[in-house]
Symmetry: C2
């Protein structure tokens, strides 16, 4: 049987069609704070703006240099959040290390915190109250829903335990009643754990780190690759080349289903932000 490629394109097409058919002309405005000059961040911001444009969402990008002061940023973010025209706010990560990201997020009205990283929204999720799901978690949930992967009772092995990506993903899978094992660089004999999994989710930021030796031979496992790693530039097109944390070419034929990179979780993460934003105005 051919491996199922869990692509984002049919989901985006479906969403766009659905959006055009049903959306009343909601007026939504997205404000993005871009602090510092990380080239990858600039690409991510432009992708967000692009999707926002296509959905008729107005976008404002606020640029600050690397040395911007915490207090000034807090005042500026609070000012934007207080603006009743603004529907949702994003602080593009990573930000310079001298800044306290938690205090920056806390300037955002929780209703406009579409990344769900304010104290209020993090706590609401911990208490099981309704609020926005963080973008990556919502992206993977959308993928499961669209491709009809029912995870209740399944064993999800999550590789990577970062605050922003790994932890909310594990929490989402637990909410959906999966059994979840969280692995990281201190995990011993990782392969023996991934081989017992029904679903393996990888978010470690190491290009092609997870190869075919991590999977069983029975072609029943599902692989979700969160990684987006820059591996240079295509000399002919001048475009950057990216790959995931999974060695796609060698893993693909060994598993039941896998997300490609690019074209897998990444675009759905951007879509999830816009879904959170649109929900903030309805």
């Amino acid at each position: 049987m051919d491996t199922l490629l869990l692509k984002s394109k049919p989901i985006l097409d479906f969403f766009n069609l659905h959006h055009k058919m049903t959306a009343s002309p909601v007026k939504a405005r997205l404000d993005i704070f871009l602090i510092g000059n990380n080239p990858a961040s600039q690409i991510y911001v432009s992708k967000k703006k692009e999707l926002a444009d296509s959905l008729g969402i107005e976008t404002f990008i606020h640029n600050y240099n690397n040395n911007t002061d915490q207090d000034l940023l807090q005042i500026e973010i609070k000012k934007i959040s207080d603006n009743t025209e603004v529907s949702g706010i994003i602080i593009q990560l990573p930000i310079p290390k001298n800044l306290n990201i938690r205090e920056l997020y806390n300037q955002i009205d929780p209703k406009k915190d579409i990344e769900s990283l304010t104290d209020t929204n993090i706590s609401k999720r911990a208490y099981g109250e309704k609020t926005y799901l963080p973008a990556t978690a919502r992206a993977v949930q959308t993928l499961f829903d669209f491709y009809q992967i029912e995870i209740e009772g399944l064993h999800v092995v999550m590789i990577g335990n970062s605050d922003i990506v790994g932890k909310p993903l594990a929490a989402m899978c637990l909410d959906k009643k999966a059994t979840v094992t969280i692995c990281h660089e201190f995990t011993r004999d990782l392969k023996s754990i991934t081989r017992t999994a029904d679903i393996v989710i990888v978010a470690i930021g190491k290009p092609k780190f997870i190869d075919e030796s991590y999977f069983r031979d029975d072609k029943t496992q599902v692989v979700i690759d969160i990684g987006v790693n820059d591996i240079g530039t295509n000399e002919q097109t001048g475009k950057r080349k990216i790959c995931g944390d999974v060695d796609f070419i060698n893993v693909k034929d060994k598993v039941l289903a896998i997300t490609p990179v690019p074209g897998g979780v990444g675009p759905l993460t951007v879509l999830s932000l816009m879904e959170n934003l649109l929900e903030s105005v309805i």
Copy 2:
């Protein structure tokens, strides 16, 4: 080899001695909100008061009946929190179901939130910032420290995923670099998972649910039993009888180490609250 019983008593003795030897006469005040007439809650509150008394901590208990209004409680909690004499505040759980526990906690100054359940403290933990560890998580951490159980790289299987107990325990083990599997009522073939564990932590609230069939025969596993289940009253003494979630008698000889109930994690949970309280005044 005899099974090691991970008892709380030597830890409490050690702490008491240490406290008497080193504590400067700190003035600390603990305020406990007791809402409704849950008999178990009254016992838990009295145990907290007892330990506080022995440590020279002043205790005030605020009783409210089952029908008390959310708004009134919020005002009362805020008033106590604003009192500069008060060092730490506990809201004894469970509370009547019509109340929003998160909003009640949020009336407490995060510095006085020794249960670590305000939005601020939950979020600080999510971001890896320093704050109080929730009592059960701190209790188990103390047990590991005292009995020199180094969990880095070990496989901890956590049975139970409650917001207040299971999730903070799993997070503590992850912070200590264990690989953590979180199981619950939807987990399939739980026994095959617990048998692969180095450490099994049980917090499900079902008397003696986990029997010897959940463990390997090689007497290398460690069992931490968080359960405190009421199983009637001793007719002769009139005292209530309690047991854990683990079938202690039958599991004990099959494992390397196990916490008894009573006399295991429970008393350390109370101790942990007092440690958080004492830290709040230094």
